[in-house]
Amino acid sequence: MIKRTFLSWIYLSFLYIFLFFPALIVVLFSFNTSRVWSFPLRGITWRWYEELLARPDAVAAAMNSLIVATVTMTVSVALGGAVAFAFHQWRFSAKNGVESLLLLPLLVPNLIWAIGLLLLVGAIHLPTGPATVILGHVVLTMPYVFLLVRSRLQSLDPNLERAARGLGATSPLIFRRIILPHVGPALLASALISFATSFSELVVAFFLTGAGFNTLPVFIYSLIEIEPSPIVNAIASIIFFVAVTCMLSAALIGGREVAFTHGGDSHDK
């Protein structure tokens, strides 16, 4: 029995090493002095991060990513939260249809999704740029907000609301004092997920950025094709830490459900 436990731990360790290997490699080589990716490592340096900061296009892309992610987060949480709240509060006939429509982006590969949006945007003659990227990211992240907030609302004891009403509380007061505190963690967690997803998402952004506007993932994707260097490692490490920090905090705040919601860029392929 002990032998079997031992074997299963070895298996699991190998699997985790395999999973963590890429991220480890990226971060490791962002600090390596040599320009080429090769072991043994030469020495530790901040050079690639410094070169990165000295590049105006990289800094601009980072700022764009921050703005896009922040706006996406705000819009997604507002819209997704509102829809989840509407589902909780009212019964309406189109519920199932709306629900499957909202969850559709989780199943369709991002490439097809991105192309659909691109064609739609082209058909109504909307120029691609920050607004279209935000649109695409809102569509991608809203399902997470909706799912998390709705499942949190479902766990709200309806008697609380009834009791408050019986004691004379108005609807806005009930919303502020009972519903909002209850869904607070879910809202915060889904905000973090939306931010992380938007900040690290490549495919939708790649098709919807348009000329002269780049987010960080799109920027490094073009950098890989034009001039691959450890600068890409530096940017990738930054994206990695931002995304993982957001998602970890989301998991700590929102609990188990968050861990099972795939943030990052789930269907990014």
Binding site: F20, W37, P109, G116, L119, L120, V203, N233, S237
Partner: protein, 252 residues
């Protein structure tokens, strides 16, 4: 949405089935589509084979360790897709990390084709990217499994393989199929990975579709290809969902 919009775009030229005719008449497109579906199927099978034991082990550990193990499993998944794809890009290739390291260690004199860009690189990369998503749904059914049933069967003399085949697999079938959906769908539509590590023989339909909107600049054909891919994916999804509804655990 992509139906409406692709039609919308084609209206601008003429309403025609020209692009679909191209897809059917040029064998390269259909061949690429089948290849991509086959690659996705292979990755799916490998991912499930690797994921099942892992999910099993996690489900059998003490509850206090489970959440830690699950979070650890998800961290690579949460890190950006492009970050992980780039990592594999630096590892493969004639002057990639693996070849250079092997060379500088003096094991071989020249670069090994084994670690060049190509189909094996695509499969390994995709497997690495999708594995967490295969483990989760399987873990979720194993977690709720009635272990007494297994102990019971064992004490009645059933061997481990028999228990696996007659009890564990049927009861976890719907989790396994969910894992298959989560892995198959995105892998079939991938375009970044084949573009970065695919080389010549690792091209997939997604890369061709993406190029129609970039270098090749044939949006209508790209849209028609995307619809073709979407339709075949919907077919696979429907098939898997039918299987899932037939699985005994589906209504539990």
């Amino acid at each position: 949405m992509s139906f409406a919009s692709s039609a919308e775009l084609m209206v601008q030229y003429v309403w025609s089935l020209q692009n679909y005719a191209t897809i059917v008449s040029e064998p390269i497109y259909l061949r690429l589509l089948c290849r991509s579906l086959a690659i996705a199927a292979l990755v799916t099978v490998l991912a499930i084979l690797l994921a099942f034991p892992a999910a099993w082990i996690i489900a059998r550990t003490k509850p206090k360790y489970r959440n830690t193990l699950l979070i650890l499993l998800m961290i690579p998944w949460w890190s950006s897709y492009i970050v992980r794809a780039f990592a594999w890009y630096t590892m493969f290739g004639r002057s990639g990390l693996i070849n250079r390291t092997v060379e500088s260690a003096g094991v071989t004199s020249g670069p090994l084709d084994l670690f060049g860009f190509g189909l094996p690189a695509v499969i390994l990369t995709e497997l690495n990217l999708c594995l967490p998503l295969a483990v989760l749904p399987i873990y979720m059914v194993l977690e709720r499994l009635d272990w007494n049933q297994i102990a019971c069967a064992r004490s009645l003399g059933a061997g481990p393989w028999r228990v696996l085949r007659r009890i564990v697999l049927p009861l976890s079938a719907h989790g396994i199929i969910a894992a298959a959906i989560f892995v198959f769908m995105p892998v079939a539509g991938t375009f970044i990975v084949p573009q970065l590590v695919g080389g010549v023989d690792g091209t997939m339909i997604g890369a061709i579709i993406a190029s129609q909107f970039g270098a090749a600049s044939n949006w209508a054909l790209g849209a028609a290809l995307a619809i073709t891919l979407l339709t075949s994916l919907a077919g696979v999804l429907a098939l898997l969902l039918v299987l899932r509804n037939r699985a005994p655990g589906a209504h539990a």
